[in-house]
Symmetry: C2
Subunit: 349 residues, 2 copies
DNA sequence: TTGTATGCGTTATCAA
DNA sequence: TTGATAACGCATACAA
């Protein structure tokens, strides 16, 4: 691979001149500029981004660490994050921790060491201890989504799942159900420490309590946020002496798994057993019967994460119109944002 | 962030000593070693990977460029790729071209300039001209999956979709169908130049021909491999004077879209209209009714791609047992591998 | 066994 | 306007 040196020699100018035309800074006469650009094309020269990063101290790339690339919820958040970042000439690379805390931490530390301009963590695959190490010495902007690390300076995007779960469960109660089960998130392993895991369960309990329905522990069975676990959980529920007539699953994947199980048992989702999910992944509206669910504000989360990073990275010159008070500091973005998840009713078949 | 210099000063040794304990090479006395490791912990020192890359000329990371992260087919290939790579201490980063050729090329060139140890391209989001530029001057190993760039030195992994499509269509014919439509891939934009796009259509035609069924052009409607396009395509088909009793979709996402459309029209998938997909994404077996499809060898593709990269990257010392002919060159992996897609029958409800 | 010095490819600061 | 040259953080050949 040719280097900037080769270009300089070939075109008979100095390295700094080449560098200047590359960053079209200072005033290079248009003829030498053209000449240099020609030899650049000729040689097929491509600036080495690694060297650039080392010199400049940053890389123009943001990394997002997701705990499970196979979960559509994550990819939908990532999409909007990428879209926003790209508008600002920032590249996004995706790291899949593949449901492993070890790998999540590894990716996180690795990206820290690679001079990322920012890191977004979605889910709970990065360990608090990794975040603590970051907190002590790093200055790379990090944003956490759907996990509350309890670190004050860490911008955190959360969704009020308690309220959402309350509404979902209440919705089932309004439809006349009293035997309402829940397929909850895992209490161990990846997913167990997401903000939504505990809060969704709490919302479910509060709705029951509000309606005066007794909470039955055996109606709560635990999954791992993956589809097959929903299937297994539903099988457990169906084998109960009195099986529930409604199920609230902590995410759509498990809800769909539950539907599969209901069908396999010769029952009908909706008519025999109502199912409500959480996330509103795109498949939820497509399957038959379609799935009533809580719409995770995926686009908003991705965009908000991007916005926070951009505020940190860009000198924030475009604060809108020019104000005369030049010393007016730009209000920092709130470190902790709570979003809402809206109930999407799809049971009015 | 502390540098290796800080560690050296703090622990009273030289930079090279610190470097030595980091790469635990040469023979550093265990006491100084321990001492240095202590101050490393103390300072929270983390080697700068960018500097390492610049110095060593590689990065220990492989990039995979996928054209659409929202398509489960891609994520499943990526998973197996990652698993295999990680066994060899190689990190994987995922770049989403988001169904844009521009972005695909941009990612590709960017990763080339970032000293990736290898690049895997899945789908057709990287343009042939970008590959040509690579071919001329780069030495970074690249593997292409599901697109035939016609570049001889480029390891390419293809699936014999013609035969698979032939089998799928024949399967429908055996079930007594004669009015068999196809929802094909796009002839323009991302996806149009994948190997599977044209070959699946050809296999469909050959099956009809073999069975002596006339090929009706209006029975082939074009989608873009995304779910909604399958829905739209099916609507078109259903509005035909004589609508088909069977549909072969070029991928599962479009097949599922078609099912949605069938249902919306008050018809039943399977009983009224048989649907066969392609890919065997995990949701295919979960939905009701489950989807008969062709199983793309996703795991095999990911592993084969990893294997090809590893052959190039590792000195290939573990060629099995030691042979006495030390000059026996390791057989290079075939540059062009053709895989099979197997029919998964799920219509024996 | 440990330290010094050079270079990886680039950018940026000065002189010229 | 352009050209040397010093970093950036690390690895390594070579000297001590």
């Amino acid at each position: 691979m040719p280097t900037i040196k080769d270009v300089a020699r070939q075109s008979g100018v100095s390295i700094s001149t080449v560098s200047a035309v590359l960053n079209n800074s200072s005033w290079v006469p248009s003829d030498t500029k053209a000449h240099v650009q020609n030899t650049i094309k000729e040689l097929g020269y491509r600036p080495n981004r690694v060297a650039q990063s080392l010199k400049k101290g940053h890389s123009n790339v943001v990394a997002v660490i997701v705990s499970d690339i196979a979960n559509p919820y994550f990819t939908e958040v990532v999409s909007s994050l990428q879209t926003r970042l790209m508008q600002e000439q920032l590249n996004l690379v995706i790291c899949n921790s593949n449901r492993s805390h070890d790998l999540g931490d590894k990716h996180f530390e690795f990206m820290l060491a690679r001079q990322m301009d920012g890191i977004v963590i979605i889910g709970d695959s990065v360990t608090p201890s990794a975040l603590e190490r970051w907190q002590e010495r790093d200055d790379v902007p990090v944003v956490a989504i759907e996990r509350d690390y309890g670190i004050e300076q860490l911008p955190t995007l959360l969704v009020d799942s308690e309220q959402a779960a309350f509404e979902a469960t209440s919705h089932l109660i309004e439809q006349g159900h009293t035997n309402i089960a829940m397929i909850a998130g895992p209490t161990q392993g990846v997913g167990s420490t997401t903000f939504g895991r505990s809060t969704r369960l709490e919302g479910y309990k509060r709705a029951l309590e509000t309606a005066g329905i007794a909470y039955k522990p055996h109606y709560v069975v635990e999954g791992d946020f993956q589809l097959p676990s929903g299937e297994r959980a539903m099988t457990v529920l169906l084998n109960l002496a009195q099986y529930p007539t409604a199920v609230f699953a902590a995410n759509d994947l498990m809800a769909i798994g539950a539907m599969k199980s209901i069908h396999a048992a010769g029952l009908r989702t909706r008519e025999d057993i109502a199912v409500v999910g959480y996330d509103d992944i795109s498949i939820a509206s497509i399957i038959t019967p379609s799935l009533t669910t809580l719409a995770m504000p995926k686009r908003e989360l991705g965009e908000a994460a991007a916005e926070i990073l951009l505020r940190r990275l860009r000198p924030s010159t475009r604060t809108g119109d020019v104000t005369d008070t030049k010393t007016l500091p730009l209000a920092p973005p709130p470190l902790r944002q709570i979003f809402r998840a809206a109930l999407i009713r799809r049971d009015s078949a």
